[in-house]
């Protein structure tokens, strides 16, 4: 078991002990179709370490009750654990205050919360929302819905053939009608790490707030929302080793205070009469109804887990894996990589001449290799690169070079089948 108390500023070990970290993830030990499971679909959902499973299980066995309601023993324990998870989130992203961390089901809900709470209040006819060409549908569709409702306009930051945003073109899009810039930290389809600090600085020069879709950022990068100086940052717990149904939208208190509530119901109110309801303060104003208590406590445990490993070493190891797999895969004739930005996380999206990605996915699955094949909820990205879909291998710090080799071998097999 990894000590959760281990400080992150301890000297990094010379090498990343991948065998040891794999032991923390029970799911990785199984065989699929008679082969050891090779899990390379981490960008879709990451696996869950034993400490997170055990924490969720302990909650359900010993602490379960509704939060914020009861004066009884169990309700207080549940509330303490739930609010404790919020404080862990605060430290993890370096928010000023825990009340700026709103628990949601995931990034999609977080973005929708900001669309309803901020967008419907502050965006009007003729206003503009700036997103990027590489966004996930979760950071396109809510803004389109808003634009349709308000008569506002969606503007799109273009990208180059490597999958990097064009910052000068971005800046040229900003004007007095721009009410929000909404961009992803890391592309799920391409792996590109976007320069959020720079993007936020340029928007703030004109007084425009910035929302960051951090679904793929939080699992791989150190997040400091004050340093990035973003106004909103959305996280999906299930992409950072926590259970599904956990997630956070961070917002600067000055925005959250001004925003409309998202969902109405219990726990988000101060007083209710048939004439008038007044709302609770932060964060409760945005957390109507009973939340996913066990999942959010699991997110807290996942943060403990991440604090207990050497994240710099993990990141360096992931980069090494990416470089290794990139070199091997791109050396195969007929394979083309989609997404070749200089700054990337461990996402390797590719297409094979004359072979559809779904067929690649099925053949790899027969080899026990889990990848994603499809449009990755980013159809405009597929269109930009003129492909119907891609196959995507996405790495985490528990993947190995042997697994990268297995991927490469299976891709060669695909080419043989279709030759």
């Amino acid at each position: 078991m990894i000590a959760t108390e281990k400080m992150i500023n301890e000297p990094a070990p010379a090498t990343w002990d991948v065998a040891r970290i794999r032991e923390e993830f029970p799911v990785l030990g199984q065989t699929v179709n008679g082969r050891p499971l090779v899990y390379l679909d981490n960008a879709a959902s990451s696996q869950v370490p034993r400490v997170v499973i055990e924490r969720g299980s302990r909650y359900l066995q010993e602490e379960h009750s509704n939060i914020h309601r009861g004066v009884h023993y169990l309700s207080q324990r549940a509330t303490t654990a739930y609010e404790g998870a919020r404080e862990k989130v605060r430290r993890f992203i370096n928010a000023r205050e825990a009340k700026e961390c709103i628990f949601v089901r995931g990034c999609t809900e977080g973005i929708n919360l900001v669309m309803h709470g901020y967008g419907r209040k502050f965006v009007g006819a003729g206003d503009e929302i700036v997103i990027s060409a590489m966004e996930h549908h979760a950071n396109i569709v809510p803004w389109q819905m808003l634009c349709e409702e308000k008569g506002a306009r969606l503007r799109v930051i273009p990208m180059n053939d490597a999958g990097e945003l064009l910052l000068d073109e971005y800046e040229a899009l900003l004007n007095e009608r721009t009410k929000l810039v909404a961009v992803m930290h890391v592309s799920n389809a391409l792996g590109t790490i976007n320069p959020i600090k720079e993007i936020a600085a340029r928007a703030h020069k004109q007084g425009i707030p910035v929302l960051v879709d951090g679904a793929q950022g939080a699992p791989h990068l150190r997040i400091d929302v004050q340093d990035l100086d973003c106004d909103f940052y959305c996280i999906s717990g299930h992409k950072m080793f926590a259970p599904t149904g956990s997630g956070v939208v961070y917002g600067k208190a000055e925005w959250l205070e001004q925003m409309n509530p998202f969902l109405g119901g219990g726990d988000m109110i101060r007083t209710v009469t048939f004439e008038k309801t007044t709302y609770a303060g932060l964060p409760n104003k945005f957390e109507a109804g009973t939340p996913a208590i066990a999942s959010q406590i699991g997110l807290g445990a996942a943060i403990d887990f991440l604090n207990g490993i050497d994240r710099e070493a993990a990141h360096a190891y992931e980069q090494e894996l990416l470089a290794y797999a990139t070199e091997k895969l791109s050396a195969i004739e007929g394979v083309r990589l989609i997404g070749t930005a200089r700054e990337k996380t461990g996402v390797l999206a590719f297409v094979i001449d004359e072979v559809h990605p779904h067929d690649v996915g099925t053949i790899l699955d027969q080899e026990g290799i889990a990848i994603r094949a499809g449009h990755h909820c980013a159809q405009p990205v597929m269109k930009r690169f003129n492909v119907p879909a891609t196959a995507r291998a996405s790495f985490a710090f528990y993947n190995t070079k042997e697994e990268a080799d297995a991927l490469v071998g299976a891709v060669q097999k695909v080419i043989e089948v279709f030759s």
């Binding site: 004359e354 072979v355 559809h356 990605p357 779904h358 067929d359 099925t362 053949i363 027969q366 094949a373 499809g374 449009h375 159809q379 597929m382 119907p388 879909a389 089948v417 279709f418």
Partner: protein, 162 residues
């Protein structure tokens, strides 16, 4: 690998590489678009009717080897058939790929379409094989668009209880 080689049989690979009736039908009187929103596959099926008989049928679009080969062989199988015959074939094909029909035991008209029986071992691919058939069916009943999400899950009762 036996299941895999059953899925990607030579005939299927051949139809994927050289799909038959893969073009627009200029004088079609029924056209329907089929989408599989989960994977992004889309195809258009063109039908030319002569009374109750499918005089000509063709398709266009993009998709995986399974969906392309299935569409290609669908056009071959229904050309010259009556609407009722095509509908029966659609039901039998759907039954086969979802595991509801034992194509070797129960009487049926599937013939060379039995080559797709292996698809039922790959639940994620059932919609790939059936997309063109659903689209044909939509064209015959006069719907211009169909998507596999409206069709209910292509899964067997065995998978539900798993």
């Amino acid at each position: 690998m036996t299941e895999l080689s059953e899925l990607y049989q030579q005939v299927i690979l051949d139809h994927n590489k050289k799909p038959r009736n893969f073009h627009k039908l200029e004088d079609a009187d029924r056209v329907s678009e089929g989408y599989n929103p989960l994977c992004g596959d889309q195809l258009t099926v063109y039908v030319q009717l002569d009374g109750d008989v499918i005089r000509d049928v063709s398709f266009e679009g993009s998709g995986c080897a399974i969906s392309k080969a299935a569409a290609s062989m669908m056009t071959q199988s229904v050309k010259g058939k009556t609407r009722a015959e095509a509908e029966t074939l659609f039901k039998e094909f759907h039954g086969m790929v979802t595991g509801e029909l034992d194509e070797e035991g129960a009487p049926n008209n599937l013939g060379r379409l039995k080559i797709f029986a292996g698809v039922r071992e790959f639940p994620a691919r059932v919609k790939c094989a059936s997309l063109s058939w659903h689209t044909l069916n939509a064209a015959l009943v006069g719907e211009t668009v169909t998507t596999t999400e409206n069709l209910g899950p292509d899964i067997t009762s065995e998978q539900v209880s798993a």
